[in-house]
Amino acid sequence: MAKDLGPDAETLLDIRNLSVDFRTPRGRVQALRDISFPVRRGRIVGLVGESGSGKSTVLWSILGLLSGNAEVTAGEIMFDERDMLRLGEPGLRAARGEDISVVFQDPMTSQIPVLTYARQMFDILYRRPNLSASQKRRMAIEMMEKVGIPDPESRIDQYPHHFSGGMRQRAGIAMALLTGPKLLLADEPTTALDVTMEAQIIHLLQELQSDLDATIVLVSHNLGLIAELCDDVVVMYAGEIVEAGDVRSIFHDARHPYTRALLECDPARISDVSRKLPVIPGDIPDLTRQRHGCIFAPRCPRVEEGICRTTPPPDARTPGGHARCHLLEGPMRDPDWPPPHDVVTVGRGAIPKAASESTARDAPLLDVSDLNVRFRTLSALRARLRGMDDPFVDAVLDVSLSVRPGETVGLVGESGSGKTTLGRTVLNLLPAHDGSVRFEGREIRNMPEARFKPLRRDMAMMFQDPVGSLSPRKSVRALITEPLQIHNVTGVDLDAEAQRLAEMVRLPKPFLSRYPHELSGGQARRVGVARALALNPKLIIADEPTAGLDVSVQGEILNLMADLQAEHGLGYLIITHNLPVVRHVSDRLAIMYLGRVVEEGPAEAIFRAPLHPYTQALVDGVPQPDPDRRRTHVSITGEVPSLLNRPKGCDFATRCPYAQDRCRQEKPPHETRPDGRKHACLFPLN
């Protein structure tokens, strides 16, 4: 569709000098300042930045769907020779969904649960009165087929909750493409999905783009996704564009210190495995204050007081791109900047000596063997009525796992793999069906709470949602010392204890009187760590310790955890789906699929040579922040089967590219290799 408009109309969307303020009780937040970038037809432009960078605000400005307290103070958004900012509501509404469409971040919440997909898609086509209902239906079915939804004729009449996460996102893409929009906006399209689903959606978007020659603006914090999909990249920080350019120049020749630091912080990119991750110290600036000069200066390792207080000139060296930094132009110009690729420009702190070697022969702190956790799916009466003998699912099936003092074990799996259930069962928050859970040699499975409570002091939990797991009505001081009060610890000065713990997690003293909603994600995490440490535990179970954190901050939390481990000899069980992160911090990994551990062994060995095809799929599924390493195929197709109908043979056989007849017949037993690695595969890869 782009081709017949002639070569002079090469720019489809042109954002010029866009500034947006939000009126808040704290004052005016200058969310966007002087944003300009063009989007050429047929290109995928990536807007990348951390939270608070304003990347989503740009997206919603294009559609005129900013929240009520937003005010566009300057600029224009030219789309097809119209200024979207001066179009008015009827004109905008005509453009939304027809000319410009959106793929949303979380398909679980962005589709209305009470209407079928057929209904939702008819609604989008309401501006086509010349189409009959059956024609619209056919269009919708064809689009669903195109995005890879099997059996679209019947699935179109289903509701969103009938679809799995990946299928929902496919349906979301089908809805966005239904009208054949000229511009597609994608807001973190894979963030809510598992690794294997993410890989499939990336692949789908690549295919559709080359098929339809679509123009896409992709907003994401995920550098791998940007590298994998985009032609051009715009890097945003705190409401400004710090650097823009084509994807190769950004990823291979980043010239702004922020871009450079952001790339260095991405754990997927760092090839040398180290306990310490690089971090960008400091926080995003307060956007209610007037700022002068370079926005990144307060956190920049190369800052020079006088010069960096003035606005850096835009330096345009690469075609179509520019970076705004004094290091590139003017008196501060440094011919050696940027340094070669392998030089790390941001700090990571002292690397603690690995604790694992000295303790490898210690008796395990936590020893789980053949643990089974089953959930009832139907009441006894219903089960009998439906003729089911066994109305249970195995959420955790024959899991064996151990954690030694000073050791970090990563428990990796996608959603529904049973990893969180396992964590909760270990903490005696869920009853186990059979098997054993030993803590320091003592059987604790299904121990009555009265007897188990003293043991809770030795096993702490770091919860997944850092803010949600903190009571909003308690101050940080009260939250940190809450465990002491629950366990009736007497004879300690709670205030002094709160200060000691806050210091330990590097939380400045004034924060003790703050409340959870006043904390940033990273600070709330640190409160969570402090709470976990309050009773001097021996084992910490951390459920997704870095979920929802920006790359520049997640390193801080992981480094802090590593330091505390080296100091106190803590054992960590880290439950996560984030493979790049877990690779850096874990001594050993256990990979779970459908409630079963399919592979277990030293982290480094598993990454170097995975034994189980599922592990390999997970390792390959992580999008690499390197545009030269784009994948051309998806290594794993299909979806995680429901626990309700667990495959007869190997659980993974339905999706395994190497599956043979035997795999579909018998369940592979757990095998231990001479080097101590364990796997459950009949035909291991290496």
């Binding site: 939304r96 959106v102 949303f104 209305i112 009470v114 989008i124 309401y126």
Partner: protein, 314 residues
């Protein structure tokens, strides 16, 4: 679904059984001879004797209870102490007046309250929203018997637009409808406030959901977004409230029925309590309870019909 219905009906029967047991034991918990209680202090010994035989008062208590339950199941709720007419027939005559009042009262409250709540939620903090908010609280706070009296004084006594008392001539629907206006207004007024507040609160919540933003991003018309998307989700908790309101109104219309002298169930129960006509009280309360349970069941089924997630979990 079938299993769900069976379960719900079973539960309903259990509740009704419990109500029957409480009603039945009432006669025995009040000190004195049940026959004397039932017939009042001025009953003659012959009347008491006759009553005792008819009510099987010489049988053991549990037997009497079983007889009562058995009779109730076959539709026999006993006879009026004074007129000797079957209670079922008396209730049958009156139930229509109560039901028409409840439907009319709740009906106009829904027709006004739900759109008001929607308008207020779509334009929060505008004058319409503020006025709706103040009026809602006002109508909720004023008791319905006060509304009844004022409505009666203004529209019937002073303006003489509408009839003051009675339910209209039997068989004449137009006349009955005119007699329904004032009581229905009085009964429904506070429900306008309840519903407007409830709908506004849940609409505000739903309008903030991501899927509403999606619908806007796809360029859907505001009307379709508000009524086809947001209201469809926001109405669900309100339906539960309406169901319970219907049930509650069946017994709480008593004020309006007394003030407007409508021969409904509420007034029947009230009069029978005053006259110590216990069989009628028992029958009336039993029917009111049964209707309440039925209406709540229907509202749950409507929710299941509107929300596929609920439907499939049944």
């Amino acid at each position: 679904m079938t299993l769900y219905l069976v379960k719900r009906i079973g539960l309903s029967l259990a509740v009704i059984f419990l109500v029957v047991a409480v009603l039945f034991s009432l006669l025995y918990l009040i000190p004195g001879d049940p026959a004397t209680i039932a017939l009042g202090p001025r009953a003659t010994p012959e009347a008491i004797q006759r009553y005792a035989e008819k009510m099987h008062l010489d049988e053991p208590v549990w037997m009497q209870f079983l007889i009562y339950v058995g009779n109730a199941l076959t539709g026999d709720l006993g006879v009026d102490v004074f007129s000797d007419r079957p209670v079922t027939a008396i209730i049958g005559e009156r139930i229509g007046f109560t039901l028409s009042l409840v439907f009319a009262g709740m009906g106009w409250a829904m027709l006004l309250g739900i759109p008001l709540g929607c308008f207020a939620a779509v334009r929060p903090n505008t004058w319409l929203d503020r006025v709706t908010g103040v009026l809602s609280v006002g109508t909720i706070a004023v008791p319905s018997f006060l509304v009844s009296i004022w409505a009666l004084l203004i529209f019937a006594v002073h303006l003489k637009w509408l009839p003051a008392i009675g339910a209209g001539e039997p068989g004449e629907l137009g006349d009955q409808a005119i007699h329904l206006v004032l009581p229905a207004f009085a009964v429904g007024l506070s429900w306008v406030g309840y519903l407007a507040r409830m709908v506004r609160a849940s609409m505000l919540e739903v309008m903030g959901e991501t899927y509403i933003r999606s619908a806007r991003a796809f360029g859907l018309r505001p009307r379709r977004i508000v009524y086809g998307y947001a209201l469809r989700v926001a109405i669900l908790p309100t339906i539960t409230l309406i169901g319970m309101g219907f049930g509650g109104l069946i017994s709480s219309t008593v004020f309006a029925e007394i003030i407007f002298s409508r021969p409904g169930i509420g007034k029947l129960i009230f009069d029978s309590v005053m006259a110590r006509n216990f069989p009628v009280v028992q029958g009336g309360v039993l029917v009111a309870t049964g209707l309440y349970i039925f209406v709540v069941l229907v509202s749950d089924l409507i929710i299941a019909w509107l929300d596929p997630r609920v439907r499939e979990s049944l």
